[in-house]
Symmetry: C2
Subunit: 507 residues, 2 copies
């Protein structure tokens, strides 16, 4: 059984019938109520019950965009369009304001159903051609069109007018808001299927090719092209896509290349050998079946190419791997990527919270998940968390990190509830060639990474005007790396995942 | 392993060494810090770990009494008395201000150990007679008295000067902060041992005797004494103490009495019969072995005497029992008690919280406990919750109740953490004769009731200046009665024990 709470969307004065008691008790005769606050109080009293949903009454006035935005992280099931929310077009038919149209489109994108309610204020449009001609029982009790038909027609028109989903979105639709445990690429070998999926990400390899090309041009002046052979090592070569991108960059720039392809997964190595034979690269590429952290290279590299990034940048332990691999990079050698930075932002995500809560333990609330975020509300702009730069030859370099961030919430939004933090990364491959999923700078049409989600055991209410302060730690031990996180403002949370008790990445 | 956090007791400016980072990060060069806030943030970050304790540094200035009071609900293990906290008496020896003395005595009462720390600012007192004379190794490395001995002597003197615990407190010492499930007197029969303990509560029965005496005098004018026989029914007679009190009241006032003693517990009835025989009350007392809710009385009573009260007044279902019993009360008859009221107040009680948390389930956080509250801090004055009046012949009387209470916290206290609510009752037996455990009006030297404690699943932080708003429901179903409770200000809690899922009293 689900319970839908019907609430006005706008910030409004309390209505006589449903808020009478509240007003009387407080001796207040007029008060602007943010309906999200009502929802939030009710939801908290019900201990975040997953059976509790929302139906929003939409009238002619709408609150600010940021205030509206909060609802996209909540279990809104229906938008009840009041007929008096409609305007009248030149022909006398109902229509909606641009802002209402945009809102409704966003609702459709979030599978929120539209319900039309109220008295008809508009004439009934003529029966559309064909609808009733052949089948007079089409609307059984209504041989004459229903009084609300014009509104329905208009809403249906808005729905049909929506842009079709881009191919990538269609592909990802089944992953929306589905929590996945991050990969453990060092401890586990990837499946062939996983390689195959990732290898299809053309955009990603194009960016790598551009980066390698730029590095080759910088490394080898035009007048030295014929006499210089650049040593390039691909560490974590998988089934060869970065080898291909590197060779294409060499061809494109006319630079000579000697490639070492280092890969620890023996299954991938077999496929890699076949590829090299097939492509006739035997003289160019040497395959090394070894973990980059223990391989003894016969010579030093000019360029080290790797793609060991997770959704949060360093979370698949790229820093630890490259620390091992940079031993065989020349002192003036280039690492591609040359740096990567993680980002977070606070979000409302009641669906994710409930899915995690269903496990009924603390450990699942102390785990980061890879997830195609969809039914969420972002509550503040992203901020940088950790940055790693390669190569890093400094003597006392550590991959431990600590950052404290303070987020100012979006303006005119009102109070909100933070269920956790969405995480992203951006990586500088080489100079101006970057790659990433940080929303403001995300590389378009790339599908290798979904965001990461760091949940909070107890969602935190952030009153209007208050910032939220969060602490992130990256901790390292001999056999594992993990994150800890805690909120301290407006109210302290427990430190999540202390000592990596619930979630870690094995070395 | 336990970790003691050493904190200054006073609200103070941050010290250079331990708060340096905080100050620098906030770009604040001077800031008054309430050390309780530091403790609270740390404790929340550590998720209320029961291994976390406090050692308080006591210097020459003390914060307000209410600010100090909060620490008595926290796991304070030691008070570190700085030598500069001491004054100098007329003879040149160290002593403490009255406020310091009072604080130290309170610490001793809470088993908090005193530690003396700092440079000696006072002369070393002469060796007390006898201490070193016979045993020169008494202080092995100090044939001369230790420089801090004068302070120690003074603290020992304060300890020895303390009033001895009253007998009742000594009796109850082992019950301090020990959570007990409330009795289920309707579903279960009490043990003989339980009767014996409660029967020793002389004060309680004296109050009942006074109430019955007053009622008899009101009921039977002096000129009707010889012709009138008052019918008095004791419902829930147990092993007879209320029968005895009633008969003594009759004797004292010279009124004639006919007593029915109704008791459902067959074991108690046997003892009751013996008592009546022993005392020669056969002509005065009729024993009825029956549940008052189903007994068919042969005549109606002038006075109905009962003692069915729990720590929270109505929580042992006195209202439901007396609803059944008032059938055989005359329309103008008197019920003793004539009313009772429950009270609550918010408290800090980290020890109780941790004991409940150790069960690792929600149900134990949704249960009310009978507990001799000791290591707690009361945070606001008590307020009334529910009142029941007897007899209640109104047609649509219900024993369901709902109350919303708003507590203003004690002045000058600062912020605090509420672990739950302490509950009490006060009962009007008859007119000005009352009985109860509500702290401001508690009947002295009565030991039948400890307070009740309603915990909160998640302790609630109440910022300085904010009230706390709490809702209490008394809910009734055909076979059980239960309470639900929830906080809505400053932040909403879940509704505790909804539908009586975790805790109820059976009918």
């Amino acid at each position: 059984m689900h319970l839908w709470l019907r609430l006005p969307l706008e910030k409004s004065e309390p209505m006589d019938d449903d808020l009478d008691n509240k007003v009387k008790n407080n001796n207040q005769t007029s008060e602007i109520v943010d309906s999200w606050e009502l929802w939030n109080s009710f939801r908290l009293l019900c201990d975040h019950s997953s059976q509790l949903c929302v139906a929003l009454d939409i009238s002619s006035t709408l609150p600010s965009i940021n205030s509206l935005g909060r609802w996209f992280g909540e279990p809104v099931r229906a938008a009840i369009l009041q007929t008096n929310a409609f305007l009248t077009n030149a022909k006398g038919y109902p229509c909606l304001s641009k802002r209402h149209q945009k809102l409704l489109t966003a609702f459709f994108n979030h599978s929120i159903q539209a319900i039309i309610s109220g008295r008809s204020n508009h004439k009934v449009s003529p029966v559309p051609e064909g609808v009733l001609s052949g089948d007079e029982n089409y609307i059984e009790d209504a041989p004459v069109r229903h009084a609300l038909s014009p509104y329905l027609d208009y809403v249906a028109y808005l729905y049909q007018r929506m842009d079709p989903l881009p191919e990538q979105e269609r592909f990802e639709i089944n992953y929306r808001d589905f929590l996945q445990s991050p990969l453990q690429p060092l401890m586990d070998n990837l499946e062939a299927q996983t390689y195959e999926t990732f290898e299809k990400d053309v955009v990603k390899y194009t960016q790598y090719q551009r980066a390698v090309a730029k590095a080759l041009v910088d490394r080898v002046p035009d007048d030295a092209v014929s006499t210089t052979r650049t040593v390039l090592m691909v560490v974590g070569a998988g089934r060869g896509p970065l080898v291909r991108a590197s060779l294409q960059a060499a061809e494109e720039t006319g630079r000579k290349l000697k490639v070492y392809a280092v890969e620890k997964n023996p299954n991938a190595v077999i496929t890699l050998h076949s590829l090299i034979k097939l492509e006739g690269w035997e003289s160019l590429v040497t395959v090394i079946s070894s973990d980059m952290r223990c391989w003894d290279a016969p010579e030093k590299a000019d360029i080290l190419v790797s793609e060991l990034l997770g959704s949060f940048g360093d979370n698949e332990l790229s820093p630890e791997c490259l620390d091992g691999a940079q031993r065989f990079l020349k002192p003036d050698g280039i690492s591609i990527p040359s740096s990567y930075t993680s980002f977070i932002q606070p979000i409302t995500a009641s669906k994710l919270h409930n899915d995690i809560k269903a496990h009924k333990d603390i450990a699942h609330f102390e785990t980061a998940y890879v997830v195609k975020l969809h039914r969420i509300a972002t509550l503040a702009p992203t901020q940088q968390v950790f940055t790693f730069t390669h190569p890093n030859f400094s003597a006392n370099a550590s991959n431990q990190r600590y950052t404290k961030l303070q987020f100012e919430m979006l303006p005119d939004m009102g109070s909100c509830l933070v269920h956790g933090f969405a995480g992203y990364f951006d990586s500088v491959l080489y100079k101006d060639v970057h790659l990433g999923i940080e929303p403001n700078t995300a590389t378009p049409n790339m599908f290798s990474w979904f965001p990461i989600f760091f949940p909070l055991r107890k969602p935190i209410y952030v009153p209007d005007g208050s910032p939220i302060e969060v602490h992130f730690w990256r901790c390292c031990a001999p056999t594992k790396v993990w994150y800890e996180w805690a909120v301290t403002t407006p109210t302290p949370s427990p430190i999540h995942n202390s000592n990596g008790r619930s979630y870690w990445v094995g070395l």
